[in-house]
């Protein structure tokens, strides 16, 4: 081992990377960093408790929140009942000042406290003075800091070693609006917002059951956003719930700003292009999965919910399917699967035919292809990859710019540029149609992450076809199916309930009658099953 260690050291394997090189130079740490108080590292639980002195507590929280340079922290001193010194501490903008004025300061000042009422006053104030619905007391600084950070108001009183925490959250947020990316014709038109409480309410409105549990957790990021684990206590598999909690508890990131980041941090195969959980902005879809025994995770600041486990068939299903009658719902599903198959297979199949298996095409088709490619200078493989790239460019540009301009980009890119490219002999019209059909098929896939995954898989198939024709395509398809068959989403095989088969009636390619869907999805071994 020593020799190996020495070798590793000689090769520089054990060298520590120089983080913050821009700040820490050879001359040492910059002065403003050196003078700054070090905050406890993340993961270190602050066990310190409040003091009985109001002055000490106020000073401590001022230091904690850097109030000398941070004007957001408001410390409002007042006398409760005209004699007990107190201070209300809250974050400007996060807490609603009307509530603080009316139910904390005004009630506090008007209160009558007897001369003989000595400390502790906490219980007395909570029960008789502050007319707030959500009130609790805390003894540790960790709880006080977290509460103030999220918009609650902490009230410290002289002689008390506990602070009173009251829910005064009232920051600005977007109102409930239509889902942007998962539109349906028939069905609820509400989407999640960035407000966690609103999102939980949307779910509770749809699942009015006493066993709907909503456990609050830290999302694991340094920015201390909260996450909610939501499930039906009487239905969801306890092991699945524990696994979700375990993975969330394991997260330790610098910052988590959105559900997408949390998704990557909690997935077992983060490098896989294929998503292993369902990310949706529709409360009805989440509610439906929760009723099936799945677990959902919501996060503050993210209008998406992650639902786990998710299988291939879950990701290929649209909420619209359930809202339509059986026959049209099934037709839509079949069209969607055909579209997905066209999306991943058509360009590769066409390339294989054009390069290796010309005999498979009729004379008319072959003539059309030859004529359309007569003046195109690039090889057909390069042409195809170029067109796929252009398609991705148009799609990306359309997504990133504001709505109406995005549509214009689609028209300019798709029609005008396509026509111009054909006229300029940059691409052939037949190949343009093949790529356009493939692109349309890609949009049939309801899940955005699956759309992207299909794009990657399509490129791999094109490469295999380019190298070896249908032989390469057959091998690549087999390997791709094998890969999907091996993937698992929170312990559930990705191709369940088909491979392995379970008795679940949904989700599968064709859905049965609604009356067949009384049982929960058994591939997650819900408590109803056992």
């Amino acid at each position: 081992m020593k020799i190996l260690d020495k070798l590793a050291e000689a090769l520089g394997f054990n060298a520590t990377s120089g983080e913050f090189e821009l700040l820490e130079t050879e001359r040492g740490t910059p002065a403003f960093l050196a003078n700054r108080d070090e905050t406890p590292p993340r993961g270190h639980e602050d066990e310190s408790e409040l003091s009985g002195s109001l002055e000490k507590n106020v000073n401590a929280i001022r230091v904690e929140f850097r109030s000398d340079i941070n004007p957001d922290l408001i410390v409002r001193r007042f006398l409760i009942g005209g004699r007990l010194p107190a201070a209300a501490v809250f974050m400007n903008g996060m807490a609603k000042s009307d509530i603080i004025n009316d139910f904390i300061i005004r009630d506090g000042m008007r209160a009558h406290i007897g001369e003989d009422a000595g400390p502790p006053h906490t219980e007395l104030l909570m029960e008789r003075v502050f007319t707030m619905s959500d009130v609790e007391s805390a003894q540790r600084w960790t709880a006080v800091r977290a509460a103030v950070s999220e918009g609650r108001t902490a009230v410290f009183t002289e002689g008390d070693v506990r602070a009173i925490l009251m829910d005064t959250r009232g920051y600005e947020h977007r109102a409930v609006s239509m889902p942007e990316n998962e539109k349906v014709v028939r069905g609820p038109q509400e989407g999640f917002t960035e407000n966690l409480r609103t999102n939980i309410t949307l779910l509770r409105r749809m699942i009015r059951r006493e066993d709907l549990v909503c456990e609050m957790r830290s999302s694991g990021g340094g920015n201390n956003l909260k996450a909610a684990i939501i499930y039906l206590e009487g239905s969801a598999n306890a092991a699945l719930v524990e696994e979700v909690k375990r993975r969330l508890a394991r997260v330790d990131a610098r910052s988590i700003m959105s559900m997408g980041v949390l998704e990557q941090l909690t997935e077992a195969h983060a490098h896989s292009p294929i998503p292993q959980l369902l990310s949706t902005e529709r409360p009805d879809r989440v509610a439906s999965h929760i009723m099936q025994g799945h677990v959902a995770v919501l996060m503050e600041g993210s209008p998406f919910a992650n639902v786990m486990p998710a299988t291939f068939f879950t990701l290929m299903a649209s909420p619209e399917d359930a809202y339509l009658r059986c026959a049209p719902g099934n037709v839509l599903r079949v069209v969607r699967y055909v579209g997905a198959a066209l999306s991943v297979l058509l360009p590769a199949y066409f390339l294989a035919l054009a390069l290796y298996h010309q005999g498979m095409m009729s004379t008319e088709v072959l003539n059309t292809i030859v004529v359309s490619r007569k003046m195109v200078f690039a090889p057909i493989g390069v042409e195809l990859v170029f067109l796929l790239l252009v398609f991705q460019l148009i799609r990306e540009a359309g997504l990133r710019v504001p709505g109406s301009i995005g549509q214009a980009i689609g028209i300019i890119g798709g029609l005008i540029m396509g026509q111009a490219a054909v006229s300029a002999n940059l691409v052939s019209s037949v190949l343009l149609i093949v790529v356009a059909m493939s692109g349309l098929g890609n949009f049939c896939i309801p899940d955005y992450s699956m759309q992207l995954a299909a794009s990657y898989v399509r490129l791999i198939f094109v490469a295999a076809s380019w190298l070896a024709g249908l032989l390469g395509l057959a091998c690549a398809v087999t390997a791709a199916v094998g890969y999907m068959a091996t993937l698992k989403s929170y312990g559930v095989p990705f191709l369940a309930p088909y491979a392995p088969k379970t008795t679940a009636q949904r989700p599968a390619i064709l859905r049965g009658r609604i009356t067949m869907h009384r049982r929960a999805s058994d591939y997650s071994n819900t408590r109803e099953e056992s």
């Binding site: 199949y349 066409f350 035919l353 290796y356 298996h357 005999g359 498979m360 095409m361 009729s362 004379t363 008319e364 088709v365 070896a468 024709g469 249908l470 032989l471 390469g472 395509l473 057959a474 091998c475 398809v477 087999t478 390997a479 199916v481 094998g482 890969y483 068959a485 091996t486 095989p493 191709l495 088909y498 491979a499 392995p500 088969k501």
Partner: protein, 368 residues
């Protein structure tokens, strides 16, 4: 990276066994079988059912002795040394089956679609895919088989339905075409080919949730394979005269060329060839997995990945040996195995018989 054995369901086991048995038998019927007449639609199913019968006896003995795997029964009945020797012979059978499938499909692909490419250029694609499937593990192979089963059944339906217009029952003359002795010989030959698939089900019984489940899956799959193989051979028999068949290379492919029409974007014969190729990749991966499993059990090795990688490379070497250097010798070995390969079933049968005569294991031990 270590591959765990994993657990698969009854449908996956049946899909694996069925695909492996069909590919191993229908695509390996020798031309010599058609020289004096064509009764393959009789002896091929009989041979497949014979292999099933041997495996069922072995599974019966496994249940009686409380053994979860076939190699466990061999060791239990024949003793350590002899049991291990028979286990290794089974391993070689699995490996040879995989190599035969690889050679057959490489040959077909080369002959019909890639005649200007070298054999190795074709082989490398298949071998890499087989290796990838094995790296993905047993569950991956089994679930891929299940996913592809419907596609392969549709391929089968297209294969037998497309040429029906050209069928004529008059081509069955002379009926049955071969003497009883010839039919028995060919049946034994097909039993040798099918035994790999049925024995594999007994080898993976622990991963297939026990001997009872493995047995039921094996029975369903093998009987279905016997029926489908019989139908395939019957369609071949009513489409081609036996005298023509002895000169036709791979008549199952020629079947679909009987009614070749100019399609816009596909020709059924070529498409079906590549769909069967997918089946052959799954079957070869399965055989190599079982071979590596037997190897690991004979010489306790924890990590199976090097073993299966080695077997994949050896399969590639077999292809190279056959097509680049020792074609005649390989064909001679093949001919020998066609005649005497069935003998490999005898030690298993003997071990099963010994197991059946031995004292039964306690009920607790018989988890299957």
């Amino acid at each position: 990276m270590e591959r765990s054995e994993g657990k698969i369901g009854r449908q996956e086991t049946a899909a694996l066994t069925g695909i492996a048995a069909y590919i191993s038998t229908v695509f390996t019927v020798p031309k010599e079988a058609y020289v004096n007449g064509n009764s393959s639609y009789i002896w091929l199913p009989v041979g497949i059912l014979a292999a099933l019968a041997v495996t069922l006896v072995a599974m019966l003995a496994m249940r009686r002795r409380g053994m979860q795997t076939l190699d466990g029964l061999l060791n239990d009945s024949l003793g350590g040394v002899a049991g291990r020797a028979v286990t290794l012979s089974l391993m070689l059978l699995m490996f040879w089956n995989a190599a035969t499938i690889a050679c057959t499909f490489i040959d077909m692909t080369h002959a019909f679609e890639y005649s200007t490419s070298g054999y190795w250029n074709i082989a490398i694609w298949g071998l890499i895919t087989v290796l990838v499937l094995n790296i993905l593990g047993f569950e991956g192979i089994a679930r891929t088989a299940k996913c592809m089963l419907l596609l392969l059944l549709l391929t089968f339906a297209a294969t037998v339905l497309l040429p029906l217009k050209a069928a004529s029952t008059a081509r069955l003359h002379p009926f049955p075409g071969n003497t009883a002795g010839e039919m028995a010989r060919f049946a034994l030959s097909s039993a040798y080919h099918a035994f790999g698939a049925t024995a594999a089900a007994a080898v993976i019984a622990r991963g297939a949730q026990g001997v009872r489940f493995a047995k039921s899956s094996c029975v369903i799959a093998t009987v279905a394979t016997a029926v489908l193989a019989g139908i395939t051979q019957l369609v071949i028999a009513v489409t081609f005269q036996y005298k023509d068949l002895s000169a036709i290379y791979m008549p199952i492919y020629r079947l679909d060329m009987m009614l070749v029409r100019e399609g816009y974007f596909f020709r059924p014969d070529t498409i079906l060839l590549f769909l069967w190729l997918i089946g052959s990749l799954i079957a070869a991966a399965y055989y190599l997995y079982v071979a590596s499993l037997l190897w690991r059990r004979a010489f306790p090795i924890k990590n199976g990945l090097p073993v299966v990688a080695l077997l994949c490379v050896l399969t590639g070497c077999m292809v190279l040996l056959k097509y680049e250097a020792y074609y005649e010798e390989c064909m001679a070995i093949n001919a020998f195995l066609e005649s005497w390969g069935w003998a490999i079933m005898l030690p298993t049968l003997a071990a099963a018989a010994i197991g059946l005569f031995k004292k039964p294991a306690s009920k607790e031990a018989d988890a299957g």
